[in-house]
């Protein structure tokens, strides 16, 4: 909630700062800047470079600030770490009272609390040393060294001089103290606004983890093997899907019998998300490589079939007529007109299919795998190694994005006429 408010604040703040700065140096007069109607004119809306850069910076800023990152100069208030103390007032069954001090040491997240000793002091209530665990409340058995204990009928009536009863809470500045139902002290160190690293580790932890795993590997395989295997599965499944799907799509585009026969199957299978097929594929083909590649094959197959069919149906009839009138045979028309004409559609399909396959392989590896990007994050999550989980997610995102960029590059080189007829 607070993170969201911070984010919105930075979003708005950056907007006003950038616009105020730009007003001074508004000299570039490109075509768009001369348009007077821009609201609603989609072509006049371009991604603002500054906004994109600030957006990425803001994510790391917030991430760092809320995780107590060491590379960030400013943080939101963190949890209490160090030594603090508070006093409790114990009432003897005979009505007399005595004060004693509880010394508490709170370690940083992830560190062990080390036990220590203090002088017991005077009176029937004795001082206590307590090594608290970080980030959560714990019960202090304050009366284990007192001369009268709760079983004798003694009870705590005040903390730091403030009266307290069962289930009441007193703020001591560095934490809060409450009495449990049984009259024991429960101490909770101040949490602050930072995230527990178990939920979200600092950026540098994730980066350090990346270098560690990049050099040492994880769960018997190097990082590159994990990622490479995922990619290999995607490519194998995609290629298989394309090899079957494209000819099938052509056949459906060219023959009424093929279209009639396969239309119901394709139209039925298309809306079934590949993830829903995982259980069946596991039952039929097992959970290892065959099952995964079959799953990816199915994920790519329908997309490629539909793309190829659309590519054939999309050919301008004038082109076909022209080719016939120029003396081309059916086979020549297939080879020189229909196939090249369908390539843009097929490339679009291939981009979609690669994206779907990449998402599906990660999901399939979550279910069962010995290596792979998905396996890495699911294994890490079982040990609450959130840094590896986040590193894995970031790598999966980067690779998916990289695949799309490569496909787009290939498209520009191989089908430059796309969208230009």
């Amino acid at each position: 909630m607070i993170v969201l408010l911070f984010y919105l604040g930075l979003f708005g703040g950056a907007f006003f700062i950038v616009y105020a700065m730009r007003r001074g140096l508004q000299s570039r007069q490109d075509f768009t800047s001369l348009k007077t109607v821009t609201f609603g004119d989609e072509s006049a809306v371009r991604a603002d470079r500054a906004a994109s850069i600030i957006s990425v910076v803001v994510i790391f800023l917030i991430w760092g600030a809320f995780t107590g990152s060491k590379i960030m100069p400013i943080h939101v208030p963190g949890p209490f770490v160090g030594e603090t103390q508070f006093t409790y007032t114990l009432e003897h069954p005979d009505g007399s009272t005595d004060d004693a001090t509880v010394f508490v040491r709170v370690p940083a997240f992830g560190e062990e609390a080390e036990s220590f000793e203090v002088e017991p002091g005077t009176g029937f209530a004795k001082d206590v040393a307590f090594a608290a665990p970080a980030g959560r409340s714990s019960t202090i058995l304050f009366d284990k060294n007192d001369e009268v204990t709760r079983s004798d009928g003694a009870k705590i009536i005040a903390i730091n001089g403030t009266a307290i009863g069962p289930d009441d809470t007193v703020d001591t500045g560095d934490g809060s103290v409450s009495l449990t139902g049984k009259g024991a002290i429960s101490f909770t160190p101040k949490q602050g606004l930072q995230m527990n690293p178990i939920w979200l580790p600092a950026p540098e932890t994730v980066v350090a983890r990346f270098f560690e795993i990049a050099s040492e590997g994880y769960q018997n395989f190097s990082l590159w093997q994990h990622l490479g295997w995922s990619l290999l599965r995607v490519i194998a499944g995609f290629v298989a899907g394309a090899i079957v799907g494209i000819p099938l799509g052509y056949a459906m585009g060219l023959s009424g019998w093929f279209r009639g026969w396969f239309d119901p199957i394709v139209e039925f299978m298309r809306p079934v998300p590949p993830l829903a097929l995982i259980p069946l594929v596991i039952i039929w083909f097992g959970i290892w490589e065959t099952g995964k590649i079959v799953l990816l094959f199915l994920a790519a197959l329908w997309i490629m079939t539909i793309a190829a069919r659309a590519g054939v149906s999309g050919v301008n009839i004038s082109k076909i007529h022209a080719a016939y009138s120029l003396g081309a045979s059916k086979w020549q028309i297939m080879r020189h007109v229909i196939v090249p004409n369908s390539l843009p559609e097929i490339f679009t399909g291939a981009r979609v299919a690669m994206g779907v396959c990449w998402g599906t392989v990660v999901a399939a590896e979550l279910v069962a795998a010995q290596k792979g990007a998905g396996m890495m994050i699911i294994a890490a999550s079982k040990f609450q190694l959130t840094d590896i989980v986040i590193m894995g997610i970031v790598l999966i995102g980067i690779i998916g994005y990289g695949i799309d960029i490569l496909m787009r590059k290939a498209e520009n080189i191989l089908v430059p006429w796309k969208g230009r007829s």
Binding site: N316, S318, K319, S325, L326, A328, S329, P340, N341, W417
Partner: protein
């Protein structure tokens, strides 16, 4: 002996809802080799249908088309087509588009190149041989389409509104080019157009078609194409008889359009 013979051609489209459209009824026509004929008529009178039958893309419900003594039964390289637009192959450059026909016949590369070099020079695109077709303007693309058709040496060239998508100035230039190509190659050409002026300029013969059912309404023999071969087309338009013919045909088509409108209003 007439080269192209159209005999009692009728075409009826049966629509899925049970009704039918008589797109052509008893169209008969003969063209001699090297004749240039333009076809005019209100929208929907069956011009494209007629051309598609001549090209062999459609089989008529009755009647026949004969070319050089044999019956037309399907598309063939002897009958070249020039479409209004969108018929060039974007995945080939200008030269490959022009060489498509010869290449399909298996002509060797050197020979093909001689043909395309010559034709691209004729249509004024010698500097654009290696360009992608989508980089060319609409007028240039139509010149590629003309060159591609001529490269195949067809006996008859069929054009369906070949200049319809061009701006007025480009169109005028292209009309000159069509006349020049006609005279130089001596091909038989049938050209469909919506422009009365174009039909007058690019037709030794001109037929005006009438709709419902599609039929030949009037036929003219005109001197303007011959005049235009050696003169500026603007002068031809000012020449004797042009304005009268134009007005006569305009009002004829105008009347037909009115009649169609009136009929649809009655229906509504």
């Amino acid at each position: 002996m007439p080269e192209l013979d159209i005999v009692d051609l009728s075409m009826r489209f049966d629509l899925p809802n049970g009704s039918s459209v008589q797109a052509l009824k008893d169209v008969s026509l003969s063209l001699k080799e090297g004749e240039l004929m333009s076809v005019l008529g209100p929208s929907g009178c069956g011009k494209t249908t007629l051309l598609n039958i001549l090209a062999g893309f459609l089989a008529p419900t009755s009647g026949k088309v004969e070319l050089n003594g044999h019956i037309v039964e399907g598309p063939d390289a002897e009958r070249g087509m020039v479409f209004q637009k969108g018929a060039l192959f974007e995945w080939m450059n200008v030269r490959d588009n022009v060489e498509f026909g010869p290449r399909m016949k298996g002509m060797p590369k050197a020979e093909r190149e001689k043909i395309s070099d010559h034709l691209l020079e004729v249509v004024g695109l010698q500097d654009f041989k290696e360009k992608a077709v989508y980089e060319l303007s609409g007028g240039m693309q139509q010149r590629v389409a003309l060159a591609r058709c001529l490269a195949n040496e067809p006996d008859v060239i069929l054009m369906d509104e070949p200049l319809g998508a061009l701006d007025a100035l480009t169109r005028e230039k292209m009309q000159g080019l069509v006349l020049k190509l006609w005279k130089e190659t001596g091909k038989t050409i049938i050209l469909i157009t919506h422009s009365v002026e174009e039909a007058l300029l690019l037709g030794e013969r001109l037929i005006v078609m009438a709709p419902r059912p599609g039929r030949i309404h009037r036929e003219y023999n005109l001197p303007f194409a011959e005049r235009g071969v050696n003169a500026d087309l603007r002068d031809v338009k000012k020449s004797e008889g042009f304005a009268e013919k134009r007005d006569e045909i305009l009002s004829m088509i105008w009347e037909m359009e009115e009649e169609i409108m009136g009929r649809t209003e009655q229906v509504a």
